[in-house]
Subunit: 307 residues, 2 copies
DNA sequence: TAGATTGTTAATCGATTAACAATC
DNA sequence: TAGATTGTTAATCGATTAACAATC
């Protein structure tokens, strides 16, 4: 069993030397890429963090009247099942092999529509947490998002088991899991092309920040000299800046610069995703995804549905 | 047959007195609501307009080397088939009964995704026309819109027969037909809630204008005193203003005002469609359609697709 | 335990695609 | 006529829904 000791420890808290998963080198441990213990983006396991904060060896020593992580962690943490007094490991050991493989493999992509709705679920979870509510049900999430509860549950099943039958989803864990699944913990330096359009879009900047996309460069050959607290640089310098800052996201806000040459240049320099605010249709390529955020098409859609 | 004379004329050019469709009162005529002759929005038939501009009695008197309307009008104009020297009426007479009924019935709604893509097709058609190109094929449209040619054709089949096998779509007619099908000829007075967000959105205003949505009121309790050339009024006055101006479209640009009460008030006053630029999810109702234009969800979608 | 709610399955619905006869 | 392209059909694909056993 696991005891508190520093040596042969993967996570810094548990001594794993006597754990047969570890001995057989089948336990990926907190520090590895195991999706169920540490996070894809490298941030630590919530159980690991909580236990460290409380200064205890593990959940079995916890004296909190209610668990700060909700009540579902038993079936999520493979180590948890091994603590004194706790039951079963939910077939986790059997799935561990697969899990370990998955850590090095690409995480399967989440359906695009699901990802879109996740932004709403995350918002609601934050809102509930702020109001001191601990859990939220698929029905509540569905009402807020304007979709059926069944679809919410299907969407959230992308996160792995993270709800509790009879209770719903713990709002803290839900936020954590959504952020993890969409790798929102990972910082994404972002460049903005078209300075004039940046000024009047506080909500766009806010949206970028909520996804950890931090503006590191603004580019334009005309218009204001500074924008969003950054000095506006010449468009010709964008490619170089992308290389220097490691930017992976670009926002295209000026139609007259939205051409395939610019796109190719940015892609070569390391940009992997482009948010296109202009009505120009841009072609994606193997290692560049484009998201059209064209308001004109939405107005057409709106009018077509108008009775 | 039809001859040039003023009396018993439906369209002001043709004397319909001897036409059996007219006599049987089955011919809806240019001036009526017939979809195939006049436009849903009341603008006149393109053939009617062209003929009047050229000062001739009808297409049978036309001496232009190539038709300015493309070559497909034969199968679209039920009168056309009756002109001297012109062939067949393509079973139009048989469909006329049905057509006449349809003019009073509701036009069937166009699929929302199709409507969205229409904005792109329209753009391309305008672009080709400006460059002096007369026709565009489904392949060309598809390349521009980022979809397959088959989907373009399926989309455009919503307009009725409007392409020519072997040649493609006449860009002028394509524009006309898209505008007609989406009733873009109809002016839609529009109110904007949230003055501060209006300033920095030249492209949103432009998009609204391209759909004939003219701003008639800007409302906010704080921020600038004028916006988009209009005096900013208090939010409380929005409902009354909607009634006075007959506004049917509203743009919601401030999250803190995007509540169900406001929505209900606007709807009661006559608003039928809302473009919601805020991340708040608004519930549609029987006579109010909502279009979410939330940038946050698009960023989530983008990141989920990023590799 | 009874009531509530999850995660998943099979069924349904809608949107896209490939193919092709009809047409210019 | 030969080549190009439309409009439509049937097939495929993907997304949503309803239902329900499993679970708390």
């Amino acid at each position: 069993m696991l005891t508190k000791r520093a040596s042969r420890s993967l996570c810094g808290i548990y001594d794993c030397s006597s754990c047969d998963l570890f001995v057989a080198e089948r336990c990926p441990g907190c520090a590895s890429g195991n999706l169920h213990i540490s996070r894809e983006d490298g941030s630590p396991c919530v159980v690991y963090e909580c236990v460290r904060k409380l200064g205890i060896a593990g959940c079995h020593e916890c004296t909190e009247p209610t668990c700060r992580l909700g009540t579902v962690r038993v079936s999520r943490c493979p180590l948890r099942g091994r603590f004194g007094g706790e039951k079963k490991d939910d077939g986790f050991r059997a799935r561990l092999e697969e899990t370990k493989g998955a850590a090095t493999r690409q995480t399967p992509a989440i359906p695009a529509r699901t990802a879109q709705r996740m932004s709403c679920y995350l918002r609601v979870a934050q809102d509930y947490a702020r109001r001191g509510v601990a859990t939220v049900s698929s029905h509540q999430l569905g009402r807020a998002a304007g979709v059926r509860a069944a679809l919410v549950r299907r969407d959230l099943s992308e996160l792995g088991h993270c709800g509790t039958p009879g209770r719903g989803y713990a709002v803290d864990m839900l936020q954590e899991e959504i952020r993890r699944r969409l790798s929102l913990g990972q910082a994404r330096p972002t460049v903005w092309l078209g300075a004039a359009e940046l000024a009047g879009r506080p909500e766009t900047r806010q949206a970028l920040e909520s996804a950890n996309c931090r503006l590191v460069g603004v580019f334009d050959d005309e218009g204001p000299k500074t924008a969003a607290g950054l000095r506006v640089q010449r468009l010709a310098r964008a490619e170089e800046a992308v290389r220097k800052t490691g930017a992976t996201v670009a926002v295209l806000a000026r139609e007259d610069v939205a051409g395939p040459e610019l796109l190719q240049g940015l892609s070569r320099a390391g940009v992997k995703a482009v948010l296109n605010l202009t009505p120009a249709r841009l072609a994606a390529s193997a290692n560049l995804v484009i998201e059209q955020a064209d308001i004109t098409s939405l107005i057409f859609r709106l009018l077509s549905r108008m009775r």
